[in-house]
């Protein structure tokens, strides 16, 4: 069984972005770019499932600009077997990405598709669920444990208040939450090996997908700033302030 794992190139987790002064967007030029952290967990999980013997081949996919090849090389260094880039400079919204992935799903027929639950740039949390819908597949979002048993996926999910476990037919779409695993460190020998692994490049038109954005961004601005507060010298002052000034206790 093949596993398809989807990775997005985003501004690095540790970098704070700035809104452009003319309100036309967020300035991401010259910022450090990395693989979306949840996608790293997705790649790690797919590779672990191959190491356990549940999966035979891990195919990493990314959609976006040519530089996404770097993100795919990282996925290959973690342990993916081959990679596919759907290259376009068009702004890609989740529905368009889901359609591209659906086309690749039809081509590759994997038993498992694993994606991060959310990208840390647009914070949409949509693509996995949309892919599942388009391909008429069951879905297990926000996964914290994945097992393949007797031709079914058994997935534990993070839900409000705790955990729930589902049993799902294969093929299945899974999106990852934080506690699913801790991605391995990529070693230099594996980075070297990754350079030799196959990486195919396609265009959205090759897959017959129209990726025109559906949502128009009219304006981007800074969030409202919080007024600076004060430092209190001790607990007694803090309690007095909360009671008499803020009146919240």
């Amino acid at each position: 069984m093949k596993a398809l794992v989807c990775v997005k190139r985003v501004v690095d987790y540790n970098v704070k972005v700035r809104v452009k002064s003319d309100g036309s967007g967020v300035d991401i030029a010259h910022l450090k770019m990395s693989m979306n952290p949840f996608d790293e967990i997705a790649v790690e999980e797919a590779v672990r499932l191959r190491e356990k013997g549940s999966v035979t081949e891990v195919i990493a996919v990314s959609c976006g600009v040519a530089q996404c090849q770097e993100t795919l090389r990282t996925a290959l260094a973690i342990g993916a077997d081959r990679a596919i880039l759907v290259e376009t400079s068009e702004e890609l919204q989740p529905l368009a990405v889901a359609k591209l992935l659906k086309a690749l799903f039809d081509k590759e027929r994997p038993g498992l598709v694993i994606l991060g639950k959310q990208a840390i740039d647009d914070d949409c949390n949509q693509t996995g669920q949309m892919l599942a819908a388009l391909a008429d597949l069951p879905q297990a979002t926000f996964a914290s444990k994945v097992e393949i048993v007797d031709g079914k996926a058994r997935v534990t999910r993070e839900v409000d208040g705790g955990l729930e476990t589902l049993s799902l037919n294969l093929p299945v779409v899974i999106t990852t939450d934080l506690r699913l695993n801790e991605p391995r460190y990529v070693t230099l020998p594996n980075i070297m090996k990754a350079k030799k692994k196959p990486l195919a490049v396609l265009k959205p038109a090759d897959l017959g997908v129209d990726v025109t954005p559906r949502i128009k961004t009219l304006e981007t601005r800074d969030p409202p700033k919080r007024g600076a507060g004060i430092k209190v010298p001790d607990v007694a002052t803090l309690v007095a302030k909360l009671k008499n000034e803020a009146k919240v206790i």
Binding site: F38, P94, C124, M130, T165, L178, L218
Partner: protein, 310 residues
């Protein structure tokens, strides 16, 4: 055209976020209808009928809805979707699971986590962990939206009751099934609905200390317990306590951050709180930049002292 709100409930009663979603729906256009799809969920449907601004409740009842599986619920919503200009879900783990499935089947974009309705097709939402707010316009005929509850007040109760219409339940999808759940039972308020939250970070040092130091404070204040991602990653607190970009977004009256440094991802989840208190021994911690009251102190001394002083 009317607006459809998809109610989140546990079959017996509605979850708090549903009320905020009704408020957002009222700002979109037309009449607000609420779909309660559940198993033996008449009680939840009756509760929905008593929300101010709700014109009609649609009640679909079948065993397949008991556990809120996305495949079956999305099919039920799709059976009704064409009658509506907007379909709104709360932006909770539950709503986020189902909404994109509906949007994709309708071939429309989804607008996630709206915090403001500018007009029936224009909305505001945060991106980059709340470091930017975008105003977005949808050209789709049906707008599928998830609503960030902290952006909208909960709808009040009404004196009159809206009609409840029974709708035919769709068949179970048969491609997924519920095996079991482990839901922590406690008497504390739900994190996203709590008026006061006591939250701990990496500075708590261990799961034992997290519990020993923060539980008495939360008990005294009648507060919910929260945690930073660092504390969750370190195993000090369960994941569903996580406040931040990828966890829960909260806006209580009082947020007490103990041993939390204040990474942007955490601030994204709590900076709309009315009053923020930070207790941290590191004078340079970024959390002090958003705190109304900062106490630079060893939390293992200050928090027990605070419990005594309350």
């Amino acid at each position: 055209m009317s607006v459809l709100v998809i109610a989140e409930h546990d079959n017996a009663s509605l979850r708090g976020a549903t009320f905020n979603t009704v408020t957002a729906a009222g700002q979109c256009s037309g009449d607000v209808h609420v779909l309660v799809a559940g198993h033996d969920a008449m009680q939840a449907a009756r509760q929905a009928a008593l929300i101010q601004g709700v014109a009609k409740v649609l009640h679909a009842d079948a065993p397949g809805f008991e556990h809120g599986l996305a495949e079956t619920l999305a099919a039920q919503i799709l059976a009704l979707a064409r009658n509506y200009s907007h379909i709104l879900f709360p932006a909770t783990a539950w709503g986020k699971n189902i909404a994109p499935r509906v949007a994709a089947k309708l071939d429309v974009a989804q607008i996630s986590d709206i915090i403001k309705v500018r007009s029936p097709d224009t909305f505001e939402r945060p991106i980059y962990a709340g470091n930017a707010i975008v105003t977005v316009q949808s050209g789709d005929a049906i707008k599928v939206i998830t609503v960030r509850t902290t952006g909208f007040d909960p709808a009040a109760a009404s004196v009159s009751t809206a009609p409840i219409e029974t709708v035919t339940a769709v068949a179970d999808s048969g491609i997924s099934s519920f095996v079991g759940s482990e839901i922590a039972k406690n008497d504390r308020p739900e994190l996203t609905a709590a008026k006061i939250i006591v939250s701990g970070g990496r500075g708590m040092g261990s799961s034992g200390q997290f519990d020993a130091v923060l539980t008495p404070l939360a008990d005294k204040l009648g507060a919910a317990l929260g945690a930073s991602r660092a504390a969750v990653d370190a195993g000090y607190a369960p994941n569903d306590w996580q406040v931040g970009q990828t966890g829960k977004i909260v806006a209580p009256q009082l947020y007490v951050a103990c041993g939390i440094s204040g990474a942007i991802q955490h601030l994204a989840g709590m900076k709309d709180s009315k009053v923020i208190v930070a207790i941290n021994k590191d004078a340079e911690a970024p959390i002090f930049g958003v705190a109304d009251y900062g106490l630079e102190a060893d939390l293992f001394v200050a928090v027990p002292e605070l419990v005594k002083a309350l």
